[in-house]
Amino acid sequence: MRRNIKEFNIREFAINNIVPIIFIVLCIICIPLAGYSGQYLVSQIITRIMRNSFLVLSLLIPIMAGMGLNFGMTLGAMAGQIGIIFITAWNVVGIPGLLLAAIIATPIAVLLGWFCGKMLNMAKGREMITSYMISFFMNGVYQLVVLYGMGPVIPIESDQVILPRGYGVRNTIDLINVRQSIDTFWQISIGGINIPILTIIFIALLCVVIIWFRKTKLGQDMRAVGQDMEVAREAGIKVERTRILAIVISTVFAAYGMIIYLSNMGTLNTYNSHSQIGMFSIAALLVGGASVSKASIKNVFLGIILFHLMFILTPQAGMKLMGQAQIGEYFRVFVSYGVITLALVLYEIRTRREKAESAKQLAGLQKEGAKA
């Protein structure tokens, strides 16, 4: 009997953590194939944690409020990019430039988040596909603003940013002036690996904010709304407003995350930096073992490490194995999408299984009754 319970638990554990387990296995297979040195991998992973964790952390709050994976975080990324475009055009450099970008991005992100939240309140029960479509729709609006509005309508004069035709922003903008300014501001080197202290402080600060947020009244309300909107409403919690706030906060954090991301990358692809960000961030979070309804800071970091390990390894592994780096590149795209699909499907199946439990209980009761 005892043994049975133990076996059952292991199986349950494996089912509940299938995504991280797949990734660990995948990485273990790929590490020798790719043949990178440990030092290289560690330094790469650190760079990528610094680059992406802010973005991924921004996803946590809507999950807490029961709104699922916020595909609309792309909206925040757009706001962050607009901030970056402005400071580049104005030639404001270094950390002051990034701070200014964040200040510019904040009201835009709040506005976009509010719009997104409003929309999602109109589509309860299918938040995810709706937030996904919002990101597509707003992508169009963003293109309109950036490609046609900037120059004639929004006064920006800078050959660095504006296309020679006089309006519209260039395809790629070199962010040389803000590039890694946070990372290099205060950096220590351990065993040949550079560790950017200031970035770590920022990320740690956000983690603390999220932990603190969970303890606030608003955080408690969000958890309540996430579990059962009707019960929360009966208790007098303003459900709609709480949900909008969750999205607004997420969008603003995503905007800051995007600024950190871009400053680390050093170039801005005006028209597509943001579009895949949501997908990759969500995939990273899911790889860390999060689900549609539950995610923690632990998931974020584990997810980024595993996901990026795969990200770094697969092209090289593909090269060694098949002679084509491209295979590895496509493979990691496949894995990213696949992980999201798998996580969504598993979540649905699990919810369903829980519903079927009560029937089993009844049948059991009947059997017991028959015996007695």
């Binding site: 596909i129 490609l147 098949m322 491209q326 699909t341």
Partner: protein
Amino acid sequence: MEKVKELLRSFGLPRLIIAGFLLLLFIVAPFVEINVGASLSDTLARFGMNSIMVLAMVPMIHSGCGLNFGLPLGIISGLLGATLSIETGVTGPLSFILAILYSTPFALILGWGYGQLLNRVKGSEMMIATYVGFSSVAFMSIMWLILPYSSPTMVWGYSGSGLRTTISTDGFYSHVLKDFLQINIGTLSISFGEILFFAIFAFIIWAFLHTKTGTAMTAVGSNPIFARASGINVNKQRTLSVMMSTWLGALGILCYQQGYGFIQLYQGPMYMAMPAVSAILIGGASVNKASIANVIIGTILYQGIVTMTPSVMNNLIHTDMSEVLRIIVSNGMILYALTRKTGASR
């Protein structure tokens, strides 16, 4: 007055705006020196190319599986059929028939699996469908690189392996339908071949919906609990509808390729579901109701806007904003359908 209002409501405000906008474009067109006849034939040509993919939305909407964001899966079956047909070296119209034949088993098998998956995730089909589509595109991107194709028209010249990103259908089935029964009246040229091809499949779907099974499928979409209480195997009906949608998606892409002249591999199919989805929504469908009329009206309106805006815009303000406008209109339409209360009567 009440009746007019009622009519307006049933027609839907966004649809009215889009139709009005298109009408405006046609009115403005002659004044900015645009040949209306050519524009019309362009619209019709695009209708012929895209209509079957829009038609592919109908079965799944009918069975309550929602909008088929997983259309890329059908497109991939079509691509497999197309590449296999070219690989055999058969040329001319026969290669088109061969492509259809080859893609059919893939479409049915993939559609069956896809249907099984969707049955397990009732209620959030659309999100999962989107990602099924995306993952399959990424997976096939790998496959296009490693599958042992050898036809020199398709593989990369320098490495001798892996398929090209775009493959010309010239000499195979390029324009087989387009040039069939083409009639030219002045600047207006209409290809009845494509329209006939669409009409055949539209008729088949229409007829199917009038049979016993089709009725059951509609009932499943209308109220799955009612259908179950009436002894219908809901999952079976849904799977059938998904298989039909996937197969039509495969046909749709073949039809598109013959008109366009190229096969687009790799990331090509990624976002092809979006135009089809928004076209049927513009045509008046909702998340769980659609008809053949919706398909026809929607495709004409959507393609009309796609063809007319660039030329009119360009001649009018010397700026081509059409691509951006298209993104806003089509995704805005999907968003509208998703956030409408009536869309979720279940």
